[in-house]
Amino acid sequence: MALFKLTRVIQTRCNFGVRNISFQSLDPETRKVYSRFIRVDHAGEFGADRIYAGQMAVLGKTDVGPTIQHMWDQEKDHLQTFTNMISEHRVRPTVLHPIWNIAGFALGAGTALIGKEAAMACTVAVEESITDHYNKQLRYLLDSDDKSEYRDHLLKKIKQFRDEEMEHHDTGLEHGAVNAPAYQVLKQTIQAGCVAAIWLSERI
């Protein structure tokens, strides 16, 4: 039955929440750039989802549990948006998906094991990287010549996600991220890792 419904989806091109915006009708250069955006954003949100999963596995029962759970739920929603875009617009996902699965969980659980502040420091570092990355994408989209409905949709979604990531960043700071042991070192290392992950996921 589910498969039948799927075939209906193909037939009517009724995209989940991307209401009949035709990705395939964009010109190839733009399509390539947008595919890259969707691929790397999907990888980023998946990584963030796994990081929060790792943190919850360690700190779930503590007093910061609900805060992390709330941030995790928002990340899950972001991930679902990008998964839908990949499925509907036939974007190739990143081949490093299993690596981000393990690395994200390890990072989240590892920093949570050091302590609550370290987990918050990890959140701050990752969210800062992601915010920078989204800002770059937003600047590109705002400057681009393409005036299609698809660009507007992407712009709206990325703006919304960027705002939520900034909220997470501020939440992390509120919960004492700066008090983490070796805060600067931890932050710089994690951000270097994020930059490398973004660079790789854009290409492969």
Partner: protein
């Protein structure tokens, strides 16, 4: 003597003319040969897209040079129209050339016969810098395009009958349909496979294979967004490649052995999928057994605590 001098002059003039003509011919031949030289390409006019798309309305194959230079809109439109008419001519020649592949292989000879059949001069095959390679690539693109039409049609059929699509049978019918398109050219197919495997052509043929495999899985209903995207397409590409090889040496009536090979490979793959799924399901039980076994060994060796 005067007559002799005249004659000698005439001979000298004639032979110098002949030499100039031969030099001009050589220069022309050189210029034709150098059309494919990367440095001189910018001087070869008119620039045309590398790959000919079957659908001339598709905006793929944009003229790279035009997009780099600054042009007015009207010039761009003119260039586009010229490009489209060139594409139409190329497609016409390539379509006709396919009729001659059986006799002449994937070669310039086939292209030139095709050009003549299409009503152009035989030398119109010079439009194709790659020669026989362009013909092979065009044939593959055409086959993949027809395959997509067939896949859409299959889905519509199933929907009309309100039936559920079984993934394995869908893929099997897609692979069989696509392989059957090669049958008319099977005598020349080893040559085509050789061309497609050449290092300079291989990126393009790999791209076409990837697109075909992606199309088949997409219409079969695959919407995965993780590593399964790659494993599924890799398995299908391998399946297609191995069945294609079997088909080349198959002498049975209507390639019956090939389709039986295809059935066996597909059942192997689905068995493997079932086994790996059951391993995943039973994996936790296996891990627990392993851990309890390790604990018993530790106790025997004296390292473990005496808790059971």
């Amino acid at each position: 003597m005067w007559v002799n001098r005249c004659g000698r002059n005439a001979l000298r003039t004639y032979s110098s003319f002949a030499r100039m003509r031969s030099i001009r011919t050589q220069a022309y031949k050189l210029s034709v040969a150098s059309m494919s030289h990367p440095v001189l390409k910018i001087h070869a006019a008119p620039t045309v897209p590398e790959r000919v798309r079957f659908l001339t309305t598709e905006k793929d194959g944009k003229n790279e040079e035009n997009s780099k230079t600054e042009e007015t809109n009207s010039e761009k439109n003119e260039n586009k129209k010229e490009e489209e008419s060139v594409n139409t001519v190329k497609v016409k020649i390539l379509d006709n050339a396919l009729d001659f592949v059986v006799d002449h292989g994937w070669s310039r000879k086939a292209l030139s016969c095709g050009a003549e059949q299409a009503g152009y001069a035989g030398v119109a095959e010079g439009m194709f810098t790659g020669g026989g390679d362009d013909l092979v690539l065009y044939f593959i693109q055409k086959c993949n395009f027809q395959l997509v039409e067939y896949l859409k049609f299959t889905i519509e059929e199933h929907e009309a009958k309100e039936e559920k699509i079984k993934v394995t049978s869908f893929i099997r019918s897609a692979v069989e349909y696509r392989l059957r398109m090669i049958i008319p050219f099977i005598g020349a197919w080893p040559q085509a496979m050789g061309i497609l495997a050449r290092p300079d052509i291989f990126p393009k043929s790999a791209e076409e294979l990837a697109k075909m495999v992606d199309d088949i899985w997409y219409y079969a209903g695959d919407r995965s967004a993780d590593i399964n995207w790659y494993t599924k397409r890799g398995i299908l590409a391998k399946l297609y490649g191995s069945t294609q090889l079997v088909m080349l040496t198959d002498q049975s009536p209507d390639f019956k052995d090939t389709w039986e090979f295809l059935d066996r490979r597909i059942s192997d793959i689905s068995n493997f999928a079932k086994i790996s799924q059951s391993v995943k399901d039973n994996g936790s039980a296996f891990v627990e057994t392993a851990f309890s076994g390790a604990k018993v060994l530790k106790n025997i060796a004296g390292f473990g605590d005496t808790k059971r």
